[in-house]
């Protein structure tokens, strides 16, 4: 890691630590009720028992795996669909508004329907997770391709670049930052939906743990499970950041 990369990481961790210390003090002084927000130290100390009783690490990987599968499916649908909407302008114009509307709909509320179709299993989680993920990916793929500079396309034409190279060497690298904005938004929505459904149907990984701990009034354990969800989200954010850097270093 270069110095430039280290500094933000250190500053970030320091900020997190400072917030935890402040919260610890706030609970100790009674400014925040302990049964609503536990001390950060209690949350940390609850990890071993949560691991023992609920297999936190195992469930971390269940949620991570479900999110990865749903995101893979979202990419598989969103990227080609976005490309199609770019190629067929009429469809693109016709569907963009609908997609945006669908994206702002809480699809998670349709879970009874999906339970009926797929049953109370991983399939429901993956399918319901992939829908809100695929939408921003499709929208941003179309936007990214539409935004490719006309001059850069003309540079390609002037060098007699084939259609294939035009796409691979000019359009795709131009569109990568915009497409990855869509992917980052998509994966976060996928994760939120998967955890929400795990919570609602009491099935699967971390969402189920949150639900059960919450019902038991095990407040530090509830927060510990939420921290684990944040770690899943951090993993995907970091991972896709790396992929983007690899595809387009600057």
């Amino acid at each position: 890691m270069t110095r430039l990369h280290k500094v933000p990481v250190i500053v970030g961790l320091f900020g997190l630590l400072a917030c935890a210390v402040l919260l610890e003090l706030a609970v100790n002084f009674g400014w925040v009720m302990e049964i609503i927000v536990p001390r950060p130290t209690d949350t940390v100390l609850s990890f071993p028992s949560l691991q023992e009783d609920m297999d936190l690490v195992g469930n971390f990987f269940v949620t991570l795996g479900m999110t990865a599968a749903a995101t893979a499916l979202a990419l598989l649908i969103g990227l080609p669909f976005g490309y199609f909407l770019y190629r067929r302008e009429a469809y693109g114009v016709a569907y963009e508004g609908w997609l945006a509307a669908a994206f702002s709909t809480p699809i998670v509320l349709l879970y009874p329907l999906f339970l009926v179709i797929f049953g109370r299993n991983h399939m429901t989680l993956i399918v319901m997770g992939c829908i809100p993920g695929a939408i921003p990916i499709a929208i941003q793929t179309r936007q990214g391709l539409l935004g490719v500079s006309k001059t850069l396309l003309n540079v390609g034409r002037s060098f007699n670049v084939s259609e294939r190279d035009m796409f691979r060497k000019i359009m795709l690298p131009s569109a990568v930052p915009t497409i990855f904005t869509g992917i980052r938004i998509g994966v976060m929505y996928t994760l939120v939906n998967i955890v929400a459904i795990e919570y609602l149907i009491d099935f699967g990984g971390l969402g189920r743990i949150v639900s059960q701990m919450y019902d038991n009034f095990s407040i530090p354990e509830t927060y510990a499970a939420i921290v684990a969800v944040i770690l899943v989200s951090t993993f995907f954010y970091w991972g896709f950041g790396r992929v983007e850097k690899w595809l387009r270093p600057v």
């Binding site: 003309n154 060098f159 060497k169 990568v176 600057v250």
Partner: protein, 268 residues
């Protein structure tokens, strides 16, 4: 010398839906000899970029024809290399990879294309910046990267649309010298589109003056200043005479262009 490029009765009308059609070019005839340095000058909106796109094969639906070595051109031609008015380097590629781009497209292996690219990077004076990305370069350096990239394609005709139009005057004069060095080194035919009178006189064998709407060739002025030239020629009396002559021709066109542009703004 034989004419490498012939432009025969080229016209182009833009039919923007809703608006009335714009006649951008009306019957342009121009012959350019192999190895010649010709500038095309005219006020903004007179159809210079349109002519550039037609010669470069980037606009197909025009009237008249463009011939290279007597053969009609259809689409982008291997002998014509273009440099665009707008920013055209690939932001995700280093200077070296930008310049090597046309060679990569031709399937030349990495070692060879990088060697060729380095040669042209040196020629445009960007040695030492091979690994920089466009965002780290100044406007003039980015345009030189674009020039080197087109040179690496090794076209016989270099066609440039106001490549230094966005740069400050001093930088532009120095890059003019650079272009003359490159031209002397490579024996290419240069066709430079510009709106800058000094640049046109400094560099050219002939200056083609275009009129405003419809774009037609108003006059062609041969520049009989001695070669090899550098920007020092600007201080001479003959230079001043040519500039004065061109301004007399352009003044009328420019004021007509300005009046029409202002009228169209007033109408909206």
């Amino acid at each position: 010398m034989a004419d490498i490029l012939e432009i025969k009765n080229v016209s182009k009308t833009y039919n923007a839906d809703g608006d009335s059609p714009v006649k951008a070019l009306d019957g342009v005839d121009l012959n350019i000899a192999e190895g010649e340095f010709v500038s095309i000058i005219g006020p903004s909106g007179c159809g210079k970029s349109t002519l550039f796109n037609i010669i470069g094969g980037l606009i197909d639906d025009h009237d008249g024809e463009v011939l290279i070595d007597g053969h009609e051109v259809d689409g982008a031609h291997k002998d014509v290399g273009v440099v665009f008015q707008e920013e055209s380097t690939f932001p995700w590629r280093s200077t070296l990879d930008n310049v090597a781009f046309p060679l990569e497209i031709e399937g030349i292996d990495k070692a060879e294309r990088e060697e060729t690219a380095r040669k042209f990077i040196k020629l445009v004076g960007l040695e030492g910046f091979e690994n920089h990305f466009p965002a780290q370069l100044s406007g003039g350096m980015k345009q030189r990267t674009a020039v080197a990239r087109t040179l690496a394609y090794e076209p016989r005709i270099m066609l440039m649309d106001e490549p230094f139009g966005a740069l400050d005057e001093q930088t532009r004069m120095l890059l003019g010298d650079k272009m003359l060095e490159i031209w002397a080194a490579l024996n290419q035919t240069m066709l430079l589109i510009t709106h800058n009178i000094t640049e046109a006189v400094q560099l050219s064998d002939r200056v083609v003056v275009m009129s405003y709407r419809p774009g037609i060739i108003k006059e062609i002025i041969p520049i009989e200043l001695p070669r090899p030239r550098t920007s020092e020629v600007i201080a001479t009396a003959e230079f001043g005479t040519y500039v004065g002559k061109l301004w007399t021709l352009l003044r009328e066109e420019a004021s007509r262009g300005m009046a029409e542009a202002e009228a169209s703004i007033a109408a909206t």
